[in-house]
């Protein structure tokens, strides 16, 4: 034993070199990372605290039950904008989810990637996801609000604009969830004589639902916070009534906030912050739901 220990002293010494220089380098590196993180987090907290402090005085029942008013800002609320957001985003989901999921199923399960038009569609979908949202507003303004469809500046026009906006995101999220289902599951299903459609409907979609739901909710939460395209298709009006249908004039939360911010009177300031706070809460709730869905139902293959 002793002999062996002595014999191995020299190589063992190589394991304990002077570590100081290396330690300094890694400490500096970790400190820089921490500093970057701190800057981002501090800024975020500053914004959140400012909003809470400035808006908390108007975080009352009036905020969600009253209509906006230029005459009595102290008791005004954003009730029409809440209803408008729910209506517009709900219809957006009804349009975008079936279209997006169906398109993704086609691209992922049926399209032959060697055909040029399938590749063209794929390239376009990816590019559409990067198109600035106001472009979709202009598109809908030109084709839906005005001729040929001539719907006017109504809630349905807003839904169409948002649906077009999030469609590429839904398609990409759905395709990724479908792709995550292992090939063995497809093979196993087809090998017992299931058709492609049965395989999609009974195996792939159920397995992909958590991913599709997560991606869709995140896309919809983007739609909730979107103002630019809606400004072009009619959400600008300072309305004081609750929208009552698809062809009603409407406004949504971000546009309402924008309108409040334009007002010059002092009493609008807390109202604006309170409305922002409400929007943030809605978005956090949506994103939280997405995270919970992903953690609870996501499958590891």
């Amino acid at each position: 034993m002793t002999a062996t220990d002595t014999a191995r002293t020299t190589p063992a010494r190589a394991l304990t070199p002077d570590r100081r220089r290396r330690d300094v380098a890694s400490t500096v590196f970790v400190s820089v990372l921490w500093a970057c993180l701190l800057v981002a987090a501090l800024f975020l907290f500053y914004v959140l605290i400012t909003i809470v402090v400035s808006g908390v005085s108007r975080l009352d029942a009036n905020l969600i039950t009253q209509a906006p008013s230029t005459i009595r800002p102290a008791t005004a609320g954003v009730q029409p904008a809440i209803v408008g957001t729910l209506l517009v985003v709900g219809v957006t989901a009804l349009i975008a989810l079936p279209l997006g999921i169906a398109a993704a199923i086609y691209l992922e399960e049926y399209a032959d990637p060697r055909r040029w038009f399938n590749r063209a569609i794929e390239l376009n979908v990816q590019n559409l996801a990067a198109v600035p949202s106001i472009i979709f507003g202009i598109l809908v303004l030109a084709f839906v609000v005005r001729a040929p469809l001539n719907f006017g500046a109504v809630a349905l026009s807003g839904s169409i604009a948002l649906a077009l906006l999030i469609l590429p995101v839904v398609i990409i999220a759905t395709r990724e969830s479908l792709r995550a289902v292992p090939r063995e599951i497809r093979d196993g299903s087809l090998a017992v004589g299931a058709t492609r459609w049965q395989t999609v409907w009974r195996q792939l979609l159920p397995a992909a639902v958590p991913g599709i739901a997560t991606g869709s909710i995140l896309a919809l939460s983007r739609a909730v916070g979107e103002a630019a395209p809606l400004i072009l298709v009619g959400a600008t009006t300072f309305i004081t009534f609750t929208p009552d249908g698809l062809f009603s004039r409407y406004t949504v939360m971000p546009v309402q906030i924008f309108n409040f911010a334009l007002q010059s009177r002092e009493a609008f300031i807390p109202l604006t912050y309170a409305a922002i706070l409400l929007l943030i809460v809605i978005l956090l709730a949506l994103n939280g739901t997405a995270i919970v869905l992903r953690n609870r139902f996501a499958r590891r293959w």
Binding site: E184, D187, G193, T195, Q198
Partner: protein, 297 residues
């Protein structure tokens, strides 16, 4: 149906092989294969089979016969095209973009690539078990019931599931937990579940693509025993890397290798096809002899 004798055999009162498989591990595999009775000629055959992936010739000129209710083993080194040939037998290669088949693959004399043949119907008669156990993320019951459900055979589903699980020597292990998720089973149990799933649609032919390569020796031995039972009702074609396995379970063996063609591309080629005993004891081709004696591959 395709297999008139099977219903009787798979009835709950005479579970095939169940008692033996659960009483203990049956290690005495070996000469079971030659004892098998009756063969009504070829269930399937390939004639001049060439398989292309795009422009790449993967397998050339394969002529094989798969005798009814016999086990045929396809062996050979990696890349020799044995799995490709297997996947042609139930048109699973249709799913690979660019895959193309030339020549004939016949099922009881009918070309399964012929006009008017429905690949879905082909797969209902020619079942498949894969290399990696691939149960669906569903309950044990729903896994076995999947085939009958998608093929519309939903009557007496409970009986069908029980018979299939008994046929795969799994019933006694899972009968009290049919509603549990199949992912809770061990690897060997999952593979037998996949066999149960494959036989639940009452196919005629069972293709097995290296069914034991992901399993430990005990689970492998159970599957091999099971194959000895299944061959009474099914024609079995098995791809295996394990030469001992081919020697233990099969009646006939086809040896493939990858031969360079005139452009230097390696093309899967059938070297020798004969009774298993002949292949392993007196191979006609030097390449076969080298492979089975461990000189290459």
């Amino acid at each position: 149906m395709v297999n008139p004798g099977k219903d009787q055999h798979m009835s709950p009162t005479s579970p095939p092989g169940t008692a033996q498989d659960t009483a203990g591990i049956h290690l005495a595999v070996g000469d079971r294969a030659p004892e098998q009775p009756r063969s009504a000629g070829a269930a399937m055959a390939t004639e001049n089979l060439h398989v292309y992936y795009g422009d790449f010739l993967a397998v050339r000129d394969v002529d094989l016969q798969f005798d009814d209710r016999r086990i045929t083993a396809l062996i050979g080194p990696s890349g020799c095209g044995k799995s490709t040939v297997l996947r042609c037998l139930n048109r699973m290669n249709d799913l690979v973009p660019g895959a193309r088949v030339e020549g004939r693959v016949t099922y009881h004399g009918t070309d399964i690539y012929g006009p008017g043949v429905d690949e879905i119907e082909v797969r209902r008669r020619i079942g498949m078990v894969f290399q990696k156990p691939n149960p669906f993320p569903k309950s044990i019951y729903d896994n076995v019931a999947y085939g009958p459900r998608v093929t519309g055979a939903k009557d007496h589903l409970d009986d069908t599931v029980e018979q299939a699980l008994r046929g795969a020597a799994l019933w006694d292990e899972v009968k009290d937990k049919l509603k549990q998720n199949a992912y809770g089973l061990s690897g060997g149990q999952q593979q037998r579940l996949c066999i149960a799933r494959a036989i639940a649609t009452r196919p005629d032919v069972l293709l097995m693509d290296e069914p034991c390569s992901a399993l430990d020796p005990i689970a492998t031995s159970k599957i091999e025993d099971l194959m000895g039972e299944l061959v009474q009702d099914f024609t079995i074609v098995i791809v295996t890397h394990n030469m001992q396995q081919a020697a233990r379970v099969s009646h006939s063996t086809a040896f493939f290798t990858a031969q360079p063609d005139e452009h230097g591309d390696r093309v899967g080629t059938l070297v020798e096809f004969d009774r298993t005993l002949k292949i392993f004891e007196d191979p006609a081709d030097k390449r076969t002899e080298d492979y089975i004696s461990g000189k290459f591959g």
